[in-house]
């Protein structure tokens, strides 16, 4: 449809942009390159500064998107080519095979149970999360349809015990699969939704405007940075978030990776990855101080006897009610230590972690011993950005975020007329800022429809 908007990215920014534009009356394609919409927010435990349960407030929006007559969801889909026209854009997309007939799959999970191979989950692997080769990304996934790992389909998981891949018969010629257990399980359920012979699908759209809501990624600490990678009990703040989550790999038990023991002392190290050297982040990610405050408060809610301490630099509490939230963490007994620790060392016997630092008040060298260290890593540009920049002919800034035409005279507008930004595309921000930007970007996009619709 030519009076349509394409939204790239199905996180909370893309979801909000889509709902606004669709409620306004526009037809919206909401595209995401993963098997479900929901983005980062769907995986978070709580949101600061209110400690609302993240999926509780996001899932209703996801269902709304799913049921909206004006929104078409395109998951597992990537942008290929974009051509500017007088009226807007000709867009070529490729919808990667999920090897499932979306019309037939009901997300019942029979295939998942039948699948013999578990592999580390993309998000929770480091803290013990696993998924099958056929999987639902998370329980509230939209669409509620499983996906099959392409590595399985193409025979790369044989050594791990996968059933598929050894067959020499072309799947499209043989519909009675005696090998693939997922196929069998699905047929037994009376569905026959598994389509191992499914191939990638090319899609062509004409749209009037494009909103880039490609989101942010969490910075991955270099191996050895504060013990990360070397010590099992050093994890990132995103991994800790999953640990707290009742829907996460530990059912919300805050236990440490080395021995699955409940932790009693946890230390947070802020600004991990900050710095001016190559490969480090020369900017403040704004939200990590509040994420840490939230994680400390929740840890204390899980177990009031847990000791929490935090090594911080400049405490950022920039948003509405953020300071009060920080005060709440303090009142619960969180120890704020204003310094950067030297390093993190592991006790080889106990797997506990020792953190040497100079006490900022006394100038003396001290050491803290804790069960678990959480590294508050910053937010970085999505690794999708370079490809999107190329396809859309839009600019990135020196950090890898997208560049606006002018932050005050043409905010959220790219150099290409009709391409707008919102959410993490432009830099680190919190959910409420994403939501506000999403509304703004959708406003700009629908104004382009004015004459045509």
């Amino acid at each position: 449809m030519s009076d349509s908007i394409l939204i790239i990215g199905g996180g909370i920014a893309g979801i909000n942009a889509a709902l606004n534009a669709a409620d306004y009356g526009c037809h919206v394609y909401l595209m995401d390159d993963t098997p479900s919409i929901g983005g980062m927010m769907a995986r978070l435990d709580k949101t600061f500064p209110t400690n609302d349960c993240s999926i509780c407030i996001e899932a209703p929006k996801m269902y709304e998107v799913d049921n909206h007559p004006n929104i078409e969801i395109l998951t597992n889909t990537e942008l290929r080519k974009v051509k500017k026209t007088d009226q807007g854009f000709n867009v070529k997309l490729v919808q990667k095979a999920r090897f499932i007939d979306p019309e037939k799959c009901t997300g019942c999970g029979a295939c998942i149970e039948a699948c013999p191979v578990s592999i580390p989950d993309e998000m929770d692997g480091k803290i013990g999360g696993t998924r099958k080769l056929v999987y639902l990304p998370f329980p509230q996934a939209i669409p509620n349809i499983v996906a099959i790992d392409p590595d399985c389909r193409y025979g790369n998981m044989r050594e791990q015990g996968a059933c598929v891949g050894g067959c020499v018969v072309d799947c499209s010629q043989c519909r009675e699969c005696p090998i693939a257990l997922c196929v069998k399980a699905c047929i037994e359920e009376g569905k026959d939704a598994v389509r191992l012979w499914q191939s990638n699908k090319n899609l062509k759209l004409n749209v009037r405007a494009i909103i880039v809501a490609a989101g942010l990624m969490s910075y991955e600490p270099e191996p050895g940075m504060f013990g990360y990678g070397d010590c099992q009990n050093v994890i990132t703040n995103l991994e800790f978030e999953r640990l707290m989550n009742a829907g996460g790999p530990t059912n919300g038990e805050i236990i440490r990776p080395s021995d699955q023991r409940h932790v009693k002392r946890i230390a947070w190290v802020q600004c991990v990855g900050r710095g001016n050297k190559e490969g480090l982040l020369p900017y403040c990610s704004k939200v990590c101080c509040m994420i840490a405050a939230k994680q400390m408060i929740i840890s204390k809610e899980h177990d009031p006897s847990v000791e929490t301490l935090i090594f911080y630099n400049n405490l950022k509490a920039y948003g509405k009610d953020f300071w009060a939230f920080h005060q709440k963490a303090k009142s619960l007994g969180v120890r704020y230590i204003n310094t950067r620790p030297w390093d993190v060392f592991e006790d080889p016997e106990t797997r506990n972690l020792k953190i040497p630092y100079v006490n900022p008040e006394t100038g003396q060298y001290v050491e803290e011993e804790v069960d678990l260290v959480v590294l508050s890593t910053g937010l970085i540009p999505s690794d999708r950005n370079p490809r999107l920049a190329k396809s859309l002919a839009i600019e990135q800034d020196h950090l890898g975020f997208f560049k606006e035409q002018d932050p005050l005279l043409a905010p959220l507008e790219s150099g290409v007329d009709g391409v707008y930004f919102c959410g993490g595309s432009l830099g680190p921000l919190d959910i409420s800022e994403s939501v506000a930007q999403a509304a703004a970007a959708s406003m700009k996009a629908v104004l382009r429809m004015k004459d045509g619709s």
Binding site: N16, N20, D23, Y24, D45, T50, D52, C53, S54, I55, C56, I57, A59, P60, Y63, C108, A110, P139, Q140, N144, E188, E189, G190, N245, A246, G247, N251, G252, P282, Y283, C284, N314, L315, A317, Y318, G319, K320, D321, F322, W323, Q327, P360, G363, P407, L408, L412, G427, I431, S432, V435, A436, Q437, A438, A439, A440, S442, M443, V446, L447, K450
Partner: protein, 691 residues
């Protein structure tokens, strides 16, 4: 339809082996067929498949069904699908009742097929009992026209107005001052990561665009005097130079901005022209006149980041920017910034580097030891201790600039009263939801943007202003607002005109007329049921969740073996999400509970709970969203309060109040719901096997 005989169709899904693997579906279907008024019971292999949906529609016609019960997965994901099917079959979609026998039965009682089958039968019996009493509902529309009132003519107000007006909608900007531009009129300079800007040029360009726009009317020197009505129908009285004027608008955007605060608590008593605030400095910078000033000290976080006030959000950036501006104007001057944490964002880091290059000194003081200002021999002295160098400093400045933070505009008290909004202690308006509804108020048709919400940079203000324009434009473009048919309905026969319902409604959806009789503005009602549950004369009902319907469910649930059963009232949004999560995760728990879905835990009245105990229920559970989340703002808080009263009432009536439980459960927390079930069964000493 009222005279027509009730003909209920029950469609029992076996979900492949997902339900049928545990529950004896043929037996359940046969049982359903024996229930009163059931004209048809059919087993569906995959009820949600398009084949079966078609079959369902045919069966509805063939058997002249006028009520439908679907027993399958969960309403949270599949109700819209079946509602559509029912509508396509020519029935009113509110004549559908959804029973969950997968998430609530087969997935959570996998090892107890007989008990699971019995529970499925009970749930279907409850569903049929309610379905027999279902009435048609309708989506309610309220017309919305295209006039929008913008309060405040600063950058936020002008930006939002321009976006609304660009759609051809008519906008009225109300500005108290003589000219547009607001706070930015008094600012000397502004920069982003790309370049510096002249604020006066920004204001002028925007104001010119506003003036030239054919769809915008600007009322300067004007204030809000009175407001009546609601979305689509606001009658607003404006006061300009003593003259009153009334306008009718459909939507309102609040963009009243903020003002700088005077020093509070600290430096409050200093009355010296050489000790000024950032805004006073801005005005001198604007005039490019600092005089002979040679030594300037900035003190940050004055009255901020303490027990009573938060971070002002933008003060650090302002201090660095203005320190640089002082240095530019008086290059020989010594400039020192005394700060606590330096809270700077991306672009402001560049300013910090430039400031350091220009030898502006940054000294960090401790939050419990603010710099001391003294005046001796006509001069100023500032003494402070830098906590990084661990050294004392004494400075003798000829100008001290205090970064004092902000508070809402002085009109906030009046505006919030007139529009029935709330604001925090600093005078910043309270949005509908801090994360997902930042530009909305709880009341439809009123929106918020810019510094009226909280202090923020111009950049963020522009995003919010543009976004608020979108939020306000959606109903204006559609021409209506629509509410689901689940709404409150008031019968005035017994109403005592106490006004409690109007007072409690979180959405201002109940109005009192001149005789104090409450009227529901149905398009604004979200159907939470808070008013119905608390109405002292039981004059309010909720369509689709009426008292008789819920009582019928309670009675059906407790018809057999009530002494082993728990009646669980579960809110649709989070608690049912937790129930579903327990199901998806296959968490096994005892099967004693019979769930009754309500939209909000606030719908559950004392009478409902007491009725369950009167019928011999072993226990009652009220499950709502985990605090502070609530889909209806604070329904769970109201429910919690009411539960306290309920326990007292139960004790008086001779029931053990400890048999009434509650759980506040997030949609992610399946384990919590399963645990509650186990705990209840254990505590109430119920039999897990023999009913």
């Amino acid at each position: 339809m009222n005279d027509e005989a009730i003909r209920v169709g029950v469609f029992v899904c076996n979900c492949g082996s997902n339900i049928a693997g545990v529950v004896n579906v043929p037996e359940v279907t046969e049982y359903a067929g024996t229930l009163p008024d059931v004209a048809l019971a059919d087993e569906g292999r995959w009820s949600c498949s398009s084949d079966y949906i078609e079959k369902m529609k045919e069966l509805i016609h063939e058997h002249a069904l006028n009520r439908v019960v679907i027993a399958s997965c969960t309403p949270r994901t599949h109700e819209p699908l079946f509602k559509r099917a029912v509508r396509e079959a020519g029935l009113n979609p509110y004549l559908l009742e959804f029973v969950s026998i997968r998430e609530q039965v087969s997935w959570v009682h996998m090892n107890q097929p007989e008990i699971a089958t019995q529970k499925a039968k009970d749930l279907i019996k409850m569903g049929v009992a309610k379905a027999r009493l279902l009435e048609e509902g309708e989506e309610i529309r309220l017309p919305v026209h295209t006039e929008c009132l913008v309060l405040g003519g600063g950058m936020a107000g002008m930006t939002t107005a321009l976006h609304v007006a660009d759609q051809g909608f008519h906008v009225i900007i109300v500005e108290r001052e003589a000219r547009l531009g607001g706070l930015l009129n008094r600012i000397s300079g502004i920069r982003t990561d790309q370049r510096p800007y002249d604020p006066q040029e920004l204001v002028k360009a925007k104001a010119d665009a506003v003036d030239a726009h054919p769809c915008i009317s600007v009322y300067t020197h004007t204030q809000l005097q009175a407001v009546e009505g609601y979305i689509g129908n606001f009658k607003v009285t404006l006061l300009a130079n003593g003259d009153e004027q009334t306008v009718n608008v459909s939507t309102v955007i609040v963009a009243t901005g903020m003002r700088e605060r005077a020093p509070i608590g600290i430096y409050e008593e200093i009355d010296d022209p050489r000790v000024i605030t950032q805004l006073a400095l801005e005005e001198r910078l604007l005039q490019q006149d600092l005089g002979e000033v040679q030594d300037v000290v900035f003190i940050n976080c004055v009255g901020s980041r303490n027990a009573s006030r938060g971070c002002c959000n933008i003060g650090c950036g302002i201090a660095v920017k203005n320190a640089l501006a002082v240095k530019t104007l008086n290059p020989e001057a010594t400039v020192t910034v005394l700060h606590r944490d330096l809270s700077l964002v991306k672009e402001e880091k560049k300013d910090l580097k430039a400031a350091m290059d220009q030898e502006i000194r940054f000294l960090r003081f401790s939050e419990d030891r603010y710099p001391v200002i003294t005046r001796a021999d006509g001069g100023l002295e500032v003494s402070t201790r830098d906590i990084i160098l661990d050294r004392d400093f004494e400075i003798h400045p000829d100008l001290i600039v205090l970064t004092t933070g902000f508070e809402g505009d002085k009109s906030v008290e009046q505006t919030k009263g007139l529009l029935k909004l709330s604001a925090n202690q600093d005078g910043f308006f309270q949005e509908a939801h801090v994360k997902l509804g930042p530009l909305d108020f709880a009341s439809d048709g009123i929106h918020l943007c810019g510094c009226a919400r909280s202090p923020k940079s111009l950049r963020e203000t522009l995003d919010e202003a543009t976004g608020a324009a979108m939020r306000a434009s959606i109903p204006m473009k559609k021409g209506y607002v629509e509410a689901e048919g689940i709404v409150a309905d008031i019968d005035l026969t017994d109403c005592k005109r106490c006004g409690l319902c109007a007072k409690m409604c979180p959405y201002n959806a109940i109005e009192l007329d001149d005789e104090k009789a409450p009227q529901v503005i149905k398009a604004l009602c979200k159907g939470c049921g808070l008013c119905a549950a608390d109405c002292p004369t039981e004059s309010i009902t909720i369509v689709h969740y009426s008292d008789p319907q819920i009582f019928a469910q309670i009675e059906a649930a407790l018809e057999e073996n009530p002494e082993q059963k728990i009646v669980a009232f579960v809110c649709h949004w989070c608690a049912l999400g937790g129930v579903d999560m327990a199901g998806v995760s296959r968490l096994q728990y005892p099967a004693n509970a019979r769930l009754i879905r309500v939209m909000c835990s606030a719908r559950v009245s004392i009478k409902m709970i007491q009725h369950a105990f009167e019928l011999g229920a072993a226990g009652v559970l009220v499950a709502g969203c985990e605090f502070p989340t609530c889909h209806y703002i604070e329904g769970n808080y109201a429910a919690e309060k009411r539960l306290k009263r309920t326990r007292k009432r139960l004790a008086k009536a001779g029931y053990d109040p400890d048999r009434l439980w509650n759980v506040w459960c997030s949609a992610a927390d399946g384990p919590k719901f399963a645990r509650t079930m186990r705990d209840m069964v254990k505590n109430l000493e119920l039999d897990r096997e023999s009913f």
